[in-house]
């Protein structure tokens, strides 16, 4: 899922300075999956904002709403009757959702409540870890299904580096597996260590964000 985390409350409150009626909008897809913008988080943040502002002596009215997806116009439209009644909308979605709301409701103040940071997989309850960097030039076929771009701190295509710990963890974080150590282990298990001797050439980054904003048009899908 697209991974996002709630901004520090102080930053959210600073953004809401001067507003008396706020609509907190969650997203039931990725932001919910990463426990940042689902219904529980929306319904937690709403009373928390009220308590914080009440404590500061500046009460605030907080309404809540959940959209199935904030990145699809059909769902965003559900807010059309509600945004006019508030001073600001606080989006608990990824950056795509925030922009969709801002684009659909250009006269409304739309603020981000989350920081979007990665493409992750939930490894276990309460633990998320990077799995993809959206690099636009997938090498998973050469690395035994383990992504060195997203999971190596240095995004090395030819690893491991010299910093792998003796227990197979990354030198930067003792809790994180060195992905190149995992790649070597998987290659060995398949009897294909030799394939890792090949030097992988620099990737083509032009299909990632380094190539500028992406806009894809597929005529066979368009009407």
């Amino acid at each position: 899922v697209i991974f996002a985390e709630r901004k520090p409350l102080e930053e959210i409150l600073r953004g809401l300075d001067g507003y008396e009626r706020v609509l907190v909008v969650g997203c039931a897809t990725c932001a919910a999956e990463c426990a940042a913008g689902g219904e529980p988080e929306v319904e937690t943040l709403a009373p928390l904002l009220r308590l914080a502002r009440e404590s500061a002596g500046i009460p605030i009215q907080v309404e809540t709403a959940m959209l199935e997806k904030q990145c699809e116009w059909e769902f965003v439209e559900e807010l059309a009757d509600r945004v006019g009644g508030v001073d600001a909308v606080l989006s608990l979605a990824c950056g795509i959702g925030v922009q969709a709301l801002a684009e659909r409701f250009p006269d409304t103040v739309v603020l981000p409540g989350l920081n979007t940071s990665a493409l992750t997989m939930r490894e276990e309850l309460g633990v998320w870890a990077s799995r993809c960097a959206a690099c636009g030039d997938c090498v998973l076929g050469e690395t035994f299904g383990l992504c060195p771009v997203a999971r190596c701190a240095k995004s090395l295509l030819n690893g491991p580096c010299g910093g792998t710990r003796k227990d197979g963890k990354c030198e930067l974080d003792p809790e994180t597996d060195c992905v190149w150590n995992l790649i070597v282990q998987r290659a060995a298990a398949r009897g294909q260590l030799d394939t890792l001797r090949k030097i992988r050439a620099p990737k083509d980054w032009s299909n990632s964000r380094h190539g500028g904003p992406k806009r894809v048009i597929r005529q066979e899908i368009r009407l």
Partner: protein, 146 residues
């Protein structure tokens, strides 16, 4: 039992969310009760500590309660196995959020009990106020002052 109250930390009741299994057999906590110190305690029975949600705890406070006391079974005797542990973690998280919001975290508390009398739970909830909050934010209305 409803949980709404008037606004403000010094202007509400103390809500007691208790797992019904923490009560001694034959004991009953129905309706609002007054502690021996005259504080108004609003008991709300829950099916298990596992049903406690952070949002609910915060909403109770935002809707005007002075404090929330959560009472669950001892960790090893929760019928849902992990309910009591889950409740403890959620209470801890709610307290963290209160601190982040600049609100006294002592307004939410958790204790474990087994075979308690109704009076013991009421006094426990009152103790949360008397022990931690009364000196900071004043006595909540709804008790003997009301």
């Amino acid at each position: 039992v409803g949980e709404r109250g008037s606004k403000g930390a010094g202007n509400g009741r103390i809500v007691l969310l208790y797992c019904h299994r923490t009560l001694r057999e034959g004991e009953s906590l129905a309706g609002t009760a007054d502690s021996s110190a005259g504080l108004r305690i609003q008991p709300v029975a829950i099916s298990c500590g596992a049903s406690i949600e952070v949002s609910r705890l915060l909403k109770i406070l935002a809707d005007g309660a002075a404090a929330v006391e959560v009472v669950t079974c001892p960790e090893g005797s929760c019928v849902s196995l992990l309910g009591s542990r889950r409740a403890a973690k959620r209470v801890d998280y709610a307290r963290q959020l209160l601190e982040e919001a600049g609100v006294d975290a002592e307004r939410i508390g958790h204790r474990r009990a087994s075979g308690a009398t109704a009076a013991e739970l009421v006094e426990s909830a009152a103790g949360r106020w008397e022990g931690a909050l009364a000196a900071k934010v004043g006595r909540p209305a709804g008790g003997e002052d009301e």
